[in-house]
Symmetry: none
Subunit: 203 residues, 4 copies
DNA sequence: AATGAATGAGCCTTCATTCAT
DNA sequence: AATGAATGAAGGCTCATTCAT
């Protein structure tokens, strides 16, 4: 609450935001502390004053991105009341031109690449997925209760839906010229349908 | 037949192989030409004799990996005669302990991260996906012909299947502790089923 | 007045000075950024902080040397009022033990060698010669006016004097054991005399 | 006369010739053993078979160039019988389009730059100059004998002429656009005249 | 708080040289 | 004789990090 503490929060957000844009545009390994500083309108020293290392900044960026996406997903889900629309709402994240989301793809790839060799990143990824899956699971259970669905394994199904979502999103992002937005939505819908009624949920 | 040409082929393969293992284990940005050389049982100069830069090596590694995966997919598909099994055969690539395949995931992530900022990589990715999709498409058309399927848009469906496969594979790899192999297979089967019979293929 | 700007000027001068000594002593191609840094009492990184490449340093060194020699020539010329002495004053540059000047010969040779293949160096050389020639030309015109000389082509003559000076200086420097300073002065005087009264200036 | 010995002579000449062209075109420090080999139509190993190091090649190139220039000077001098023409014949070396000569300037600069830090090169330079001066000296003495000249110090005069020649030649080469060939010849003539009749030769 | 000067480790790349064939 | 594979030293450049101001 002291103006000092406020300033710190502000500055860190300013740096994380700049770093996010930098990583997204050039990749985690093609940026420098200096380029982050420049993007944030600070000097190199100004950046290191708030983050003790470049790795620290990157981790904060990834966390921040994951938080953002999770909040966005939660918000999207809450827009609907019927369970199926809740599940499909994930699809909105395909983004359709929302730069706040599409900016995140390169970040995510950098993160996944790093996660292969860094246990702490694996843990972050795991937690993020879990939170996400929980949202879907709740919607599924809700659907079970009101008779919309009849899923015997909501957890496995939720996991599968999120994984399918990821696969379609990646393809959409990396090969945009060949994959229309409509394709993405329809495919997601069809796949979800298959998962909800498939063998995963038979007994 | 010239032993020189043979040697060159051998050496390049030897280096690519070593680099693949290095990248997979540590990530493209955490290895050095020296570490590649050491892994290949050569000196730094020996490596530069065959590849003019580290980037060149990495590109060769990615190409090699993509070729391998494609060949493996093709081989798996050809093991089956009924169209549905052909589509499902992709799932075998989840690998179940085949290090030749699982080694590739970190590579793929590095590649995708790089592809966001490197047009040439985007092109490689695009071509690889295309080849892969073509295999699936052929199987779908075959299924249409023999009455197994009734898909009005084999191309879009093939794309979706490969994307879904990718999503499930990534999740399986990065969060192994929470996702059983069985989950992966069943999810894949269910999702494929949804795609083959869903709205993507209505009219 | 900002101490930062002052520091920058100081540091660059310090580095250029050290590099000049290094190049003179060992030759442009036998020194390293590290040896320059050491000679300047800095670390390698400290040097790169002020010059973005070794080439940049060398260019600054050459410029600095050319500026110095020009200023020295100008100063020497201004010491005299009669036109002939002005022309002869160039000869003082033979240096007679002034290390600031003799240090420059190896530099000059490196520069000329490089200039053969580097257009930008050719331009620098051209400009330097021009400035120098202008000084001599002014003295000749002055002599024409006061009746000392009777030169119909002051420009060509000034060029010739500077070229002759160069030739004698080079010989004096590279073959010191066989060429006395006295020889250099007398030869220069005689040659100038021949040029001032020769066919170059007969209509 | 053994074909082996003949081959060796041939090969060395072939390599020296190629290296000369390379050095002239790119500078001693911008060429590689490989580029020499390529220019000579040989492989790297073929070159090292005849010269044990790159330095060796360069030294042979310089020697070869100096020999060539000396022979050319000698030849030019012998074309004339009157002493003044003999002295002036040096001027032909300005070359006027003879690539065999103009090719040599960059070489000479590289050599001089190196000579500043390499005693052995200084010695080569010294010897070369001496031989050259001797030619001029002989012509002067001849002129003294037949009454054309009246030089009391033929040695110093010969040295000065060769130095003046060098100065004009360098200027002509490095700043061709501003210095006509005619300027070079006339200047040389005038300067020689001044030297032959100047104070160098009084008493 | 914020700057940017300075450090030095690390890495890619070049290339002279050696040597097996 | 000739090739070119292989080595490894050397050097330029980048950049994360530290620190004085």
């Amino acid at each position: 609450m002291s103006s000092n503490a406020q300033r710190e929060v502000l500055r860190r957000a300013q740096i994380v935001d700049a770093a996010l844009r930098e990583i997204s545009a050039k990749g985690m390994n093609n940026i420098t502390v200096e380029s982050i500083a420049k993007a944030a309108g600070l000097s190199k020293g100004g950046v290191t004053h708030y983050f003790k290392s470049k790795d620290d900044i990157c981790e904060a960026v990834f966390q921040s991105f994951f938080d953002f996406i999770f909040q966005r997903s939660k918000h999207n889900i809450d827009l609907y009341s019927d369970p199926l629309s809740k599940l499909l709402s994930f699809g909105w994240l395909y983004n359709w031109g929302d730069p706040d989301v599409s900016t995140g793809y390169p970040l995510l790839f950098d993160f996944m690449a790093e996660a292969c060799h860094k246990e702490s990143y694996r843990a972050i990824f795991h937690e993020w997925v879990n939170n996400w899956v929980a949202l879907l699971k709740d919607a599924i259970i809700e659907g079970n209760n009101d008779g919309t669905f009849n899923c015997s394994d909501p957890d496995a199904t939720a996991k599968a839906i999120s994984a399918v979502y990821h696969g379609l999103a990646v393809r959409w992002y990396l090969d945009r010229d060949s994959h229309s937005t409509q394709w993405t939505i329809t495919s997601f819908t069809d796949a979800i349908n298959g998962l909800l009624t498939g063998s995963l949920n038979k007994i």
